[in-house]
Symmetry: C2
Subunit: 284 residues, 2 copies
């Protein structure tokens, strides 16, 4: 049965007992509004580790001023049910005050800052400070939960890359396990933000994954020029989807690439209605 | 007998064995050139913890381009002797490559960045990026050595404040133990950089501590106005010492203070010859 813990000290106590007993710990950091994508992370952790902690925390420091922090879905009761179904031992659901004290203005706190080169593209380009907030809260969660393994979805590909870089750069003794994107039957990548979409918008949103699948199809046929692949992808995008980016990123150095050589991330972001959606696919 | 370890993996292995055996671990992070100031930290750690690790690492990321990184004293053999005398179990002396890989350009690494308000004063004002380098390497050492306690000298008062803030902000499960400044009989605060000083400069350097002691004397007599105390201090400073700052900092918020109320840090920095020296005293 999943236990819900709201305070840092309580969680630290449990983790210490687990460590003393020789248990391995898996952490699944989430912002809640859990869906089948998260379920796959929790399941993987429960298979891999003796104990699994799912953190549910809508982290204020990773939202910009005009973003959806206050309206981001908060569904703790349902989240605990889902975590329980997939055999999580603990849901850690602290308040913002518990995590940051009474001031979570980033100007007054120690931040973990990923390198500019990784941040200043894809989502980081428009979401200023977003990845500082992500890296900082993940560091805090790592230090609190002391996991042996941490599970992140490939859907947030830039986040995953940045966390892997952070773990290496700061010598965290934690193994990062990337987990594949989970999709609806239509192809739409599952996301907490999908619940903002009307039925009509949902149909438009499917075109993001269609664009990616089409790119992959043409790549597999032998087309390696990213400009040509870009055009093919764009042609699949619903006219109501407002493109933010569709970029081809070399996995080795996380730089944009013109001609696809090695493992390449194709990442797309578009607004459907007022909802900002991301998706990606890997070519190799 | 102190063991010298040069690689991260080797140290991690030893620490894991210690933890398994239930030992508490103390870390004394240094840049080497160990002196009686460091000795007091090592001694304190050996008294407090089952096992003591002294790191000896001249950290490139905390030096500015025109600073003394290349000429900073490196005296590992002597350092190990001193560490041994004061009962350190391990001296951890990695290369820059071991710590940062083959590129230690800060633009390409994840950094730990203390808040601007703490950094943009005293030493941080002239040493741009210095405290990012300090916070980053200390985070790395914390993650590698997993100490229960870490020992820092009060001499680097701003560094100590920043590390304490970092531990709190990022939820490191580590107790920071501040240790008092160790002084020569003349009053001169002991520092690795003192060895740059000629005999004549050493006499001039003593005036930094004289300035601080005089300020404390007048404060104890009832003078609370920092401008008046500043003037009294400055009058004691040798004319060959080139003042960088003499600041009165409220310990509660690390802001400059005009009228001294609570615990207050009086911090001085001056160049004697080409050597930049710092010292401080606490009024309360």
């Amino acid at each position: 049965m999943t236990t819900v813990i709201h305070t840092i000290n309580e969680l630290i106590k449990v983790i210490k007992d687990w460590k003393k007993a020789g248990h391995s710990v898996g952490l699944v950091p989430t912002m809640g509004a859990l869906h089948t994508g998260h379920a796959s992370l929790i399941q993987k952790s429960a298979e891999t580790c003796d104990k699994t902690v799912v953190s549910v925390f809508v982290n204020p420091t990773q939202f910009g001023i005009n973003e959806d922090f206050s309206k981001y879905p908060r569904t703790l009761e349902k989240d605990v049910e889902l975590a329980n179904t997939y055999n999580a031992d603990i849901v850690f659901a602290p308040s913002a005050e518990e995590m940051y004290g009474n001031n979570y203005n980033k100007d007054f706190m120690t931040l973990v800052c990923p390198p500019y080169d990784l941040v200043n593209k894809l989502c980081g380009k428009t979401r200023t400070g977003h990845f500082d907030g992500v890296a900082t809260v993940v560091t805090k969660l790592f230090n609190i939960a002391q996991p042996n393994y941490a599970f992140f979805g490939q859907k947030d590909a830039q986040q995953l890359y940045i966390i892997e870089k952070m773990v290496k750069d700061l010598n965290f003794d934690i193994k990062i396990i990337p987990c594949p994107i989970v999709r609806e039957e239509s192809g739409l990548a599952i996301s907490s933000r999908n619940q903002y979409l009307s039925e009509e918008e949902k149909l438009q949103a499917v075109s993001l994954s269609k664009a990616l699948f089409t790119i992959k199809k043409y790549f597999d046929k032998g087309i390696k020029d990213s400009k040509a692949l870009f055009d093919t992808g764009i042609s699949m995008l619903d006219s109501h989807a407002e493109l933010e980016y569709l970029d081809f990123i070399d996995y080795d150095n996380f730089e944009k690439t013109d001609i696809i050589k090695g493992k390449t991330l194709v990442a797309i972001c578009a607004k459907v209605g007022t909802t900002r959606l991301i998706d990606n696919i890997v070519l190799e």
